[in-house]
Symmetry: C2
Subunit: 376 residues, 2 copies
């Protein structure tokens, strides 16, 4: 069993690690370890019908190590890569069973109820929003805070901020990229709320855009021209930009907070449900491949048994997944476009449940330490 | 027993909550709850010798509710307020025992080994830096990441990022405000490291400043003039500014991350040692006041018993604490000024130990829900 360094790049570069050399305890600790211990890649593979250079090389490496089962783990781009490789191997008549294993905090893979990674990121976002909500309301003065959350095209992560409000301490307003963002309407909503309650906490997706499709984060070029009382330019990403605009309109103290990479790697707040389902996805892929399946992705189906959430797996053709983005259904966004509905809460809440067994060393996380022995 | 809303502001405004009305279970949950449930204030009280308006009012309220014990919780400014009130009550001959209870994540109170709050914030910072370190090194391309950490004048929090490196996954370079920040030397250090290893993770205190005392964050005004290829101004706080400069010098991908409020309210990563010591500080203050002490602050002393960290309490005069800032000793900063030494690690590591009992509801934190019944 080999693990490729940095995804498909590791295959192309003949950098495969011998996984059997690893201590099983350390492999188990991967559940406790954020990011990808074998590395990730941002490599867009060509269409095999147009340029098959990479594919020839992949086949060469597969032959070298007699790779007959290929599992590829990731989001939309990875499923696209996986599908192309599957197609090419079939065309070349090289017997290799190819399976996609879903994994993306963006939760935007088509054909699956949800994706491994999302539940843990949602739990991180909800918990952090609960905490910030407490902090941002602590003074006896007015305060407007804006939290910026990942998700360029789909609002699953931003919507998760509403789990904090559901728990009694979260944002007053939540804006998703699924509906156009009206800058003036937004400001009016916040100003009105500020006048009423003095404190406003807002969660926005990084991908909010206007009706013409222009990202609000790109409005920055105008704001950057403006200077404060000390002659400093107003600086910041989307959260800071919106906060500065709201400061101008209300005179309130403001704070812009970007959850940045933290929401993507916050393994210390992983959901047990999510971790277990990630393992389930991999296990299902292996079992399916062994029993003869190929060219499929493992997908999740949600069932309710005795009123309880149950996650089932199924297989769907890779070509039905690749390059479609699953967005938050419009019926889960309020008519005002400034929050999610109970439907979204009911969807997301089961996915963040449970505390996985956490392994510590000096009260800090103990991560997997792999040997990473290269195959020759 | 009364709790003042928003600190001394609640006394001035006659907004005292009857704490005996609260459910003991909910009060216990305060250990699980970030921020300050009774509210905080940024109110600078006058020197009683110059303007005693506020003090007359405080005395009036103390008389109204027959307040004979006064406990004030916070950092430098709070201890200053506490000391002034103590002095005034003594001068007026009003019998009231006044005690300061330390609490500040900044850890900069004079006369105490450390402050409640710091251990938990340090643990949050260390854990987050471990995670970001994994994420920021995941691609096979170059990457420079800068993490900005609180602490305008003292580097206790920024130094805590080194606990992550000590645990095998943390920043390569750590810059504290205790030593002048040489911008060119910094850039040269990072560029050299980038050439060698391709990935560099840097932790900086928000308070880093040059030899003339000018904050590096104020260098922004120049950077803001510059525009990227799309005509957008380069925006961001200190972390983003530094990252953008390093991008210019290396061509690397960069990421600026500000831990912002998150590090101040990250109760889900609280240190058990810290939570217990916070309770100990309050308990010690009450016992001391009951036994006749006044005008003192509870302080911590560290002892090593059988090779193990033990925290003892003592009382120190409030006037010896107020308005001195305790900084990281220079011998705990490397000669190059770009990291902390083992001395710092040995100091900080015991303070982050242990996982407190955490209370969840739907797998999200369950915070204290107080009734906040106002006294009349």
């Amino acid at each position: 069993m080999y693990g490729a360094a940095h995804g498909i790049k590791g295959v192309l570069d003949d950098k495969l690690y011998i996984m059997d050399e690893e201590d099983p305890y350390e492999l188990e600790l991967l559940k406790n370890t954020p990011s990808s211990e074998l590395g990730s890649a941002r490599y867009k593979i060509a269409d095999p019908d147009k340029d098959d250079t990479d594919y020839k090389r992949i086949l060469e490496i597969f032959r070298k190590y007699d790779v007959r089962y290929f599992f590829y783990n990731g989001g939309n781009d990875s499923m696209d890569t996986c599908e192309k490789i599957s197609r090419y191997m079939k065309k070349e008549g090289y017997e290799c069973r190819v399976m996609g294993v879903p994994k993306t905090i963006d939760n935007d893979l088509w054909g699956t109820d949800h994706c491994p990674g999302f539940g843990s990121a949602a739990k991180y976002i909800a918990t952090s929003c609960m905490e910030v909500s407490k902090d941002a309301r602590v003074y006896d003065t007015g305060m407007i805070s804006v939290i910026e959350i990942m998700g360029r095209h789909a609002g699953w992560l931003a919507g998760s901020a509403a789990l904090a409000s559901y728990s009694g301490s979260g944002p007053d307003l939540v804006y998703l990229p699924e509906v156009p963002f009206d800058y003036e309407k937004f400001c009016a909503e916040v100003v009105e709320m500020y006048k009423k309650q003095g404190k406003v906490l807002i969660a926005v997706s990084e991908g909010i855009h206007d009706a013409e499709g222009k990202f609000i984060s790109e409005y920055s070029s105008n704001l950057a021209q403006e200077k404060d009382a000390f002659g400093h330019a107003q600086l910041g990403g989307l959260a800071v930009q919106l906060a500065e605009e709201l400061k101008k309109r209300t005179g309130s103290k403001v704070r812009g907070i970007e959850l940045s990479l933290l929401q993507r790697c916050g393994a210390h707040l992983a959901s047990e449900t999510d971790v277990n389902e990630a393992v389930l996805a991999g296990k299902t892929a292996v079992e399916a491949a062994v029993s003869g399946e190929t060219g499929k992705m493992v997908a999740f189906e949600r069932e309710t048994v005795d009123g309880k959430y149950v996650c089932r797996t199924k297989l769907i053709p890779l070509e039905s997944v690749a390059n479609f983005e699953k967005k938050v259904p419009l019926e889960w966004i309020t008519p005002e476009g400034n929050n999610v509905t109970q439907g979204f809460i009911d969807y997301a809440l089961p996915l963040i449940q449970g505390e996985p067994e956490r392994v510590y060393e000096n009260s800090l996380p103990r991560y997997a330490r792999l040997k990473k022995v290269l195959a020759k």
